[in-house]
Symmetry: C2
Subunit: 302 residues, 2 copies
């Protein structure tokens, strides 16, 4: 095997391990019940378990590993991040939003259940994510827990994920330039990816410079990831994606792929992924899997 192939194999194994760890954490943190709350619990599990690339979970697990944080604590934070991501997909798929019937190769939550249940399952996943971060099991130091909650809320709220989704909705059918698209995507998907990269430093009580290095890594990785996602949306089939493909163009949504064309967009993604990796220098060889991830996000096929 070449060195690159060895790195890719190590990355794939680490990604599988992170996916398994977060799946187990989600299963424990979102238990099945048989009382009157059973339907809500079932919808929350449907939305959060058993799917997705778990990119955000992987970032939490790997950034935490840089600081020798326990895997149990890291997996709780990874689960909170995936709960928040899952809730955002449930709400984005609603008829009043993107009206999408397919998600992760299955009916979206409002199709599998109903709209009211989907709205409430999303709301409950957000609350539960915050609860998990604040619980003492996540970190012995309450300052770490409060900092996790604060950074997570900033990534989730009106200046982060939800604000980005609002701007995205308002932009449908309008012409946006590259700077506006970059800004909206950095809010809509970038901020939570940044938080995921930063989370390990918060858990590890890392010096501010290291926390900031991971924050910047997450910023450029997130931007590269988003362009690659838009390239896949434009090029791949619905079957490969597990969600409706080509829907950005159909909805008149502005993407960098539409603005720059696929060739320049791919160049831009590669450039950003390279810049992302430069922020990992303080961690030297310990960050080899995060470096491999930065290479991977721009060449992935699904």
């Amino acid at each position: 095997m070449t060195l690159a192939a060895v790195a890719d194999a190590a990355l794939e194994q680490a990604r599988e391990e992170a996916a398994e760890a977060v799946e187990a954490a989600l299963d424990a943190l979102l238990p099945e019940t048989d009382g009157p709350e059973a339907r809500l619990d079932e919808a929350m599990r449907y939305a959060a378990l058993g799917g997705g690339k778990r990119l955000r979970a992987f970032l939490v697990m790997q950034s935490a590993a840089l600081f020798a944080v326990s895997r149990t604590c890291a997996a709780r934070v990874a689960a909170a991040v995936e709960m928040l991501h899952a809730y955002s997909l449930v709400h984005d798929d609603l008829p009043a939003m993107d009206n999408d019937d397919l998600r992760r190769g299955r009916p979206s939550t409002h199709k599998a259940f109903d709209e009211a249940t989907a709205i409430l399952a999303g709301d409950a996943l957000q609350a539960r994510a915050f609860e998990v971060l604040a619980e003492p099991d996540t970190h012995a130091d309450p300052l770490a827990r409060a900092e996790l909650v604060q950074a997570f809320a900033a990534a989730a709220g009106p200046r982060g994920m939800v604000g980005g989704q609002m701007i995205d909705m308002l932009a449908e059918g309008r012409e946006l330039g590259a700077p506006e698209v970059t800004r909206l995507q950095s809010m809509k998907t970038g901020r939570l990816i940044q938080f995921s990269a930063e989370a390990g430093a918060i858990l590890g009580r890392a010096p501010p410079a290291q926390r900031q290095a991971l924050f910047r890594f997450g910023r450029e990785l997130g931007a590269a990831f988003q362009i690659a996602d838009d390239l896949l949306d434009a090029e791949a089939s619905t079957e490969q994606m597990g969600k409706t493909a080509g829907k950005d163009a159909a909805a008149g949504k502005a993407t960098l792929v539409a603005i720059l064309g696929p060739v320049r967009a791919r160049e831009q993604a590669t450039l950003l992924a390279g810049q992302a990796a430069t922020h990992l220098e303080p961690f030297a060889e310990r960050a080899h899997l995060l470096r491999a991830l930065a290479r991977f996000v721009v060449v992935r096929q699904a």
Copy 2:
């Protein structure tokens, strides 16, 4: 004036002061903007500012006053509680939920804006509420902040407010008994009222027994408040209520008023309010306004 009239006047003044304090805090914490996020910010302000009884804010301010917590810190927690309450009303009013066009005497948020904006404004209000609690300005001790977030999330999530709303939706048109109705209402509205009463003790780093006394006060006060609300819904006009009156009966929703009849329901509310007051004994005369509130909630006319 009689002693009761003096107490009522003091209560009214304290309620106005709490309403003003939380309004100012909400205005500062949810600023107006003129960038691309303007519409989301406007919808969040529309939902959270300028209305409501501010019962929850009053409970936070008064429980905090028992422990000499700064009014600035208490007002931030009160604002977070009112943000969460406002988001729950925005989502409950959506067409897929209770489909209600009127709230606080004005068009509900999805009528004043649109459904997508209402969903996102609710989502953003929830995230912002958690952010406010976790920020250092809320309390110098990170343990207090983490405890606030944890208790707040438990009140907001699948075993609290959202879980109660789900059970309420599922129960429409079905026969529920008094124990089931009591349980569902204790989740849907009771848990956040309990948190509001408990919040002062968390802010004041009060001994566990005092925190628990306020938690229990909140439990019975919340139950009494809910029965009084259902009595008003059955008896008052839409104009008096500022929201659609008589909608519980129209939707086939189970309430204790429907099960027990108005006379026994009112007796039950009075009994609960009296029980609530007994939990205030550790605070002696310092809790006189909370005692006055317990009397007031069962006789209020709006």
